[in-house]
Symmetry: C3
Subunit: 274 residues, 3 copies
């Protein structure tokens, strides 16, 4: 099932419009290409609005938002929504500043996202109106662990219910949930946290998976999250002892490029909590 989701990305090659931060944008583009889809970036309001129409998915990432790109996010988001495109929000740094929190909250009010993907601190901020933060990284106090897994699974299911979006809360254990089911995913490596942009790349890829699997969005989202983690494991296995986070970044994207549906099926580590 997860493998066929990847297969659909490769066969349909959806065009993913990304209004995203300039820190990790190149990796997002290459990760989307590695997954088998095509990226495009536009963030001037008129251009973003028009480009949206020729795409299949929209990935909004508020990482280095500014007044111009915020306008683009709303205009592109509303158009993508009218056109029934796959829509993903990555609320980078929600909780770290009021502009980020308020923009994410307002986007969620005005646009129905298929998926909201963030770290534990960002999702808690959006769900509870509070949450600690360590900049754009999750605070350790917010992490999902074996001891709070059932509680956190219910938390994301509830947030999925109230928003009508699939929630992907990613970290050491990833949770991907709609209002009824929650995938708890254990792929990945802790060293991925020492690379900038693994979350941003995952958001771009997830948007492609949702676009290519419109009748199967929860599984598609879980497949994307498993693939990113599995690519992190594969990439790590090819690292030499003197290599570090920069080469690791390349090897993760490479592993996405070489991931087969069979590898994804075999490598995915998850349980479903209902």
């Amino acid at each position: 099932m997860l493998g066929s989701c990847l297969n659909n990305v490769r066969e349909k090659s959806p065009l993913v419009h990304n209004i995203t931060n300039y820190v990790t944008v190149n990796d997002v583009a290459n990760a989307i290409l590695a997954a088998g889809a095509s990226p495009i970036m536009a963030d001037e309001p008129d251009d973003a609005y028009e480009i949206t129409a020729i795409c299949n998915a929209l990935n909004i990432n508020i990482g280095t938002l500014n007044s111009r790109t915020i306008t683009s996010m709303f205009r592109a988001g509303q158009r993508a929504s009218e056109l029934g495109h796959a829509l993903l929000l990555d609320p980078v740094g929600a909780g770290a500043s009021s502009l980020r929190t308020d923009t994410a909250v307002k986007l969620m009010k005005e646009i129905k996202f298929d998926v909201i993907r963030g770290n534990a601190s960002e999702i808690k901020t959006l769900a509870l109106g509070s949450g600690t933060t360590h900049g754009v990284d999750a605070d350790k106090a917010d992490a999902v662990s074996d001891s709070n897994l059932a509680f956190m699974a219910k938390f994301v299911r509830d947030f999925a219910k109230s928003t009508g979006s699939i929630i992907a809360l990613t970290g050491a254990i990833d949770l991907v949930a709609d209002s009824e089911r929650c995938y708890a995913i254990r792929n990945g490596r802790p060293e991925m946290g020492r690379i900038t942009g693994t979350g941003c790349m995952l958001s771009g890829i997830t948007a492609a998976f949702i676009a290519a699997n419109p009748h199967n969005k929860l599984e598609a989202c879980a497949a994307a999250v498993c693939m990113m983690g599995a690519a992190g494991e594969t990439g790590y296995s090819h690292l030499k002892e003197y290599e570090g986070n920069s080469t690791y970044r390349n090897k993760i994207i490479d592993a996405i490029y070489n991931m087969t549906p069979e590898n994804l099926e075999r490598g995915a580590k998850y349980e479903v909590i209902e």
Copy 2:
């Protein structure tokens, strides 16, 4: 001849001003350095205008254009034109939105470019006022192939004639033409299409080649295109089976860095169609 064009880049090390998109800008900078030239980026209108004057070439890439950077493109372009600098336009996404198409058309009207470099869909859009598009990638229907080679060679020569610019239409077969001669170049690998920014990198390098070979612009442009393709072949030969598009990107830039005039002469695969 192609080799001596590269030699001139290495010896003169032209300073290339790039007003370019933030998706691939880092690779453009490293590719220009790899070729032996120096990059600089400025996109605030006053800064772009002033920086232009200390440079030898201007590379305008409309990939993530916005109202501020469009102003910079026109001001820098006009100044570079007055100063007789090498001038290149990369109309990324022309045909994908009216802002992109209109900006490219207006730039071509107001500024005389030495080279216009784009994919088949972008060049068709600019030449014919129409053309299909797959975002920032060329549509397959527009591709140059053995069956339409003579027709397409005439098309780019005609467009070169009407614009007074060298036209570099790049894809599986690259065409580099002025009004009289057309190089058909068969370097490169299809896997280069799975990397973001190979076109953008080529544009930056081409601007450097034009600046370093002012009396020999058509050959210089062909040399840059051959070098990019040959670097794609060399880089590919060093890829391990588990490596993918991200490592490939690095290896292409590495291959440009290590390209010698002799390698370029030996590796270039082209015919000239008159």
Copy 3:
């Protein structure tokens, strides 16, 4: 001593706010992570102002400045100053345009920086109101060499005295000075000049070192400069003959990631000139 400075970065993991150029921003983020600290980027004025408060250091890099980000630099700089955060200025391209020179001069007047880090041409421009430039690279005429070392050491000490900032003038020989002492550092490789962003990465890392070593800023700055150079040496030792500047960039960040306090102590090559 230098090793313990690195140790403090790893233990405290300071959060470094970077208002920086979009050319090298991804490498800056990964270099900061490699050093053991955390990066965050914000450049919309309100966001930059608020994000500053949750950070430990601010790295202002004027590489692709625009009117919006200049406002952010002043607002974030003033707030970081009020809060006693580590503050670094990287005057990229000072001397290459009046906007860059004037912005750097004005920032220095209104904000007290712990460190000003630039190449020889940039520092000369700021100290003397003049200085040649080759775009964002230093002019060879300005370089520090064995023949002018004593003179240049006095020059940076004097500039440190007049500004109240530590001056880090980096090149083939790096000088790191306060008003009394000057470290002359001979780590690094000439090939680092063929990579875009080694200076920008160093600035980001230095901001982290200053934040983690508030009572020992001069040594902390020297430690960061030695580490960048030593990483350049280590990275180079792992390069294959067919690899070039793009892979080298990755290997330098990797070497920072794997640098131990012991390696740094052992590898640092410097003398102190009083």
